[in-house]
């Protein structure tokens, strides 16, 4: 079983942030199988600006695949499911 750690960085609860959270959570449910688990962490950089610095974040919302390496980043409200899957390099059968 592979666990993917996805961190979603948002800057405050904006409409785009909410959409991104929703889209990502829905995607996690849809692609989850016995072999693939998506673990999602949502981080508000307004509360933890040092993390934005560490990850060199410019634009939000942005989802970063922390595990497994290599790191992948997708920025935007994640409204297009296929592009998100490609961007995060998630293999879905």
């Amino acid at each position: 079983m592979t666990t993917h750690l996805l961190r979603l960085y948002i800057a405050g609860r904006t409409p785009a942030a909410d959409r991104a959270v929703r889209n990502l959570e829905q995607l996690a449910v849809e692609v989850a199988t016995a072999d693939l688990v998506l673990q999602i962490e949502v981080i508000d950089i307004l509360k933890r600006p040092q993390l934005a610095e560490d990850e060199r974040i410019l634009a939000t919302p942005v989802v970063i695949r922390k595990l497994p390496p290599p790191m992948r980043r997708v920025v935007g409200d994640l409204s297009e499911r296929e592009k998100v899957l490609i961007g995060l390099d998630l293999k879905v059968d």
């Binding site: 960085y9 800057a11 405050g12 904006t14 409409p15 785009a16 942030a17 959409r19 991104a20 950089i45 307004l46 600006p49 040092q50 934005a52 610095e53 060199r56 974040i57 410019l58 634009a59 939000t60 919302p61 942005v62 992948r72 980043r73 997708v74 920025v75 935007g76 409200d77 994640l78 409204s79 297009e80 592009k83 998100v84 490609i86 961007g87």
Partner: protein, 579 residues
């Protein structure tokens, strides 16, 4: 669109109003601060725009590091260059950036867009940029901020409708943040105009351009706008090299220059004599004008030697000859410059240090040459600076800027109280006319020229003017030989003034004539005397003859009278006898 809570606490108008009354913040770039009448507007954004390679980042780094050196803290946000490269740049210009970083006085925020980032959806927000900058400013208590190559933001993201609004938001936030900020942008697609940086965001706009004329590049700085304060509005050439940014600071008045009564020997006693006995005043500007081969450099070197012997330091900026050439060439005239030459600026045996600085790269523009000269003078603070020659520069670029720069250079050196000796090469066909138009600032103007006659070349020297010095009006001969430099009085004789061998020839010739004339005169006088004697003798003779004749006639008359009387007596006696 999101507003940062930290920012909303401070109403923009208040902080903006407040900062209007603060004194400007010095950039630490002397010339720029002068043009900006103090520096950048305090607590306001300044826009610095210019194409790649115009020096934006260097100015930005200087602004930050000078502030840190003065005890402030600063944040540098880079959208283009890697932080490591920036640290390298800063250290290359002599700022201990890594130390500042370690001490927590400088922070570099890496905001280069990640090209591998995949963009999904129509909306992105740039609040993270603000959050990061705000966080860095707050945790450092930073007073200076730089956003370098901010137009990199636009190229980093696909052109979404939301990007425009977000960027505008970033700039609004910066403006409201009320930190003294320098934003640099390239000329790419009019970025600064489209986001209102130029018109609305920035209180001060500085444009950097580079011009190439005659295959020589010149960088130019211009302050386009400065809200609420005056500024110099001209274009100012500037220098960008290992020494950092250098603008020629134009200062208000040259009349503040210290006036000295001390004199500086030229090292040539004859020339000193032509300048009232002791040479020009300290702090004055001497111009040596002359055609090729008239000995300008040699006189300049003589000046240098004399100053070094007097324990004064000399900066010799040679625009034509290399260091080795100069030393070798002057040695043949008995001037050993190597004796005084110091690379470290230190002194030995009470002699002044001579710092030789060849600036020969022909690819440099005049402005660069002159700015280098000014910077060297500022750095080394010599008592005497020699510019050899200043004309080669002006000849290359005939534009008025060149002359203005030259004047500015001379003004500046004079203001520093430094004595200047400059040489000017006059064209052979120019009949000795100076094209520099700098005579108004020249205190002592010495003209050298060639005098070709009877298959020989002589060098003539004249003091055209020498402010405040009793000078010689006479054109003298200037001789250069193994024994050194010498001023010789010309031969003034029948048929004009002559110099050199002709002078000797004429002298010999004249001497013969004189002795001949003396002989003639003697003979004439003798004749005249003899003639007088003859006359006198003749007179004596005539008188003698006259006397003799007179006496004879007198005697004759007396005899006749005696005979007549005798006859009369006889006749009377006879008459008495008859009667």
């Amino acid at each position: 669109m999101t507003r940062l809570p930290t920012n909303a606490d401070v109403p923009a108008s208040d902080s903006a109003l407040e900062s209007m009354h603060k004194p400007p913040i010095a950039t630490g770039i002397e010339g720029l601060d002068f043009i900006l009448q103090g520096g950048l507007p305090a607590g306001r954004p300044t826009l610095l725009r210019g194409a790649a390679g115009t020096g934006k980042t260097v100015i930005a780094l200087t602004f930050l590091c000078q502030g840190i050196a003065a005890g402030e803290t600063a944040v540098f946000v880079t959208f283009d260059e890697a932080p490591e490269a920036l640290l390298g740049h800063a250290e290359g210009f002599g700022f201990p950036a890594r130390r500042y970083l370690a001490e927590g006085r400088l922070r570099i925020l890496d905001m280069r867009p990640d090209r591998n980032e995949v963009q999904v959806g129509e909306t992105i927000e740039l609040t993270a940029v603000l959050a990061r900058i705000g966080f860095a400013l707050d945790s450092l208590g930073a007073t200076r901020l730089v956003l370098d190559a901010v137009d990199g933001m636009e190229t980093g993201f696909a052109d979404l409708p939301s990007l425009r609004g977000e960027l505008t938001h970033v700039f609004d936030w910066i403006r409201e943040r009320a930190v003294t900020c320098l934003i640099t942008v390239g000329e790419y697609a009019d970025f600064s105009t489209r986001y209102g940086l130029e018109d609305y965001i920035a209180d001060c706009v500085i444009a950097l351009t580079q011009e190439v004329s005659n295959r020589v590049m010149t960088r130019v700085l211009r302050v386009v706008k400065r809200r609420g304060a005056a500024h110099g509005s001209n274009e100012y050439p500037f220098l960008l090299d290992r020494g950092g940014i250098f603008l020629v600071p134009i200062t208000g008045s040259v009349l503040s220059a210290k006036v000295s009564d001390t004199r500086l020997s030229t090292g040539i006693s004859g020339l000193d004599a032509m300048l009232g006995g002791q040479g020009p005043y300290l702090g004055s500007i001497t111009l040596l004008s002359g055609q090729a081969g008239t000995g300008k450099t040699s006189i300049a070197c003589s000046f240098a030697r004399a100053a070094c012997e007097a324990g004064l330091s000399v900066l010799y900026i040679s625009f034509e000859e290399s260091l080795d050439e100069l030393i070798r060439n002057q040695r043949s005239l008995g001037i050993d410059l190597a004796r005084y030459h110091r690379t470290d600026g230190g002194t030995v045996d009470g002699l002044g240090a001579l710092l030789l600085q060849p600036v020969r790269a022909v690819e440099l523009g005049l402005e660069e040459h002159l700015m280098r000269a000014i910077r060297s003078v500022r750095q080394h603070r010599p008592a005497l600076v020699i510019l050899d020659p200043i004309s080669g520069l002006a000849a290359r670029s005939r534009d008025p800027v060149a002359k203005e720069m030259l004047l500015r250079l001379l003004h500046l050196i004079k203001e520093e109280g430094v004595t200047t000796v400059a040489t000017e090469l006059l064209a052979d066909d120019g009949s000795g006319v100076s094209h520099l138009d700098v005579s108004s600032i020249i205190d002592v103007w010495i003209k050298l020229r060639r005098h070709e006659n009877d298959g020989e070349m002589n060098r003539l020297i004249t003091v055209v003017k020498a402010r405040g010095l009793p000078t010689s009006d006479q054109v003298k001969e200037f001789r250069m030989s193994r024994d050194g430099l010498q001023i010789v009085d010309p031969y003034v004789g029948e048929g004009g003034i002559v110099y050199g061998t002709a002078r000797m020839a004429r002298q010999t010739e004249d001497e013969e004539t004189i002795s001949q004339l003396h002989l003639d005169l003697e003979r004439a006088r003798q004749l005249r005397a003899e003639l007088g004697e003859i006359q006198a003798a003749n007179e004596r003779l005539a008188r003698a003859e006259h006397e003799v004749k007179t006496a004879a006639l007198d005697r004759q008359a007396a005899e006749i009278e005696r005979r007549l009387a005798a006859i009369e007596r006889t006749r009377t006696a006879i008459g008495r006898g008859r009667a």
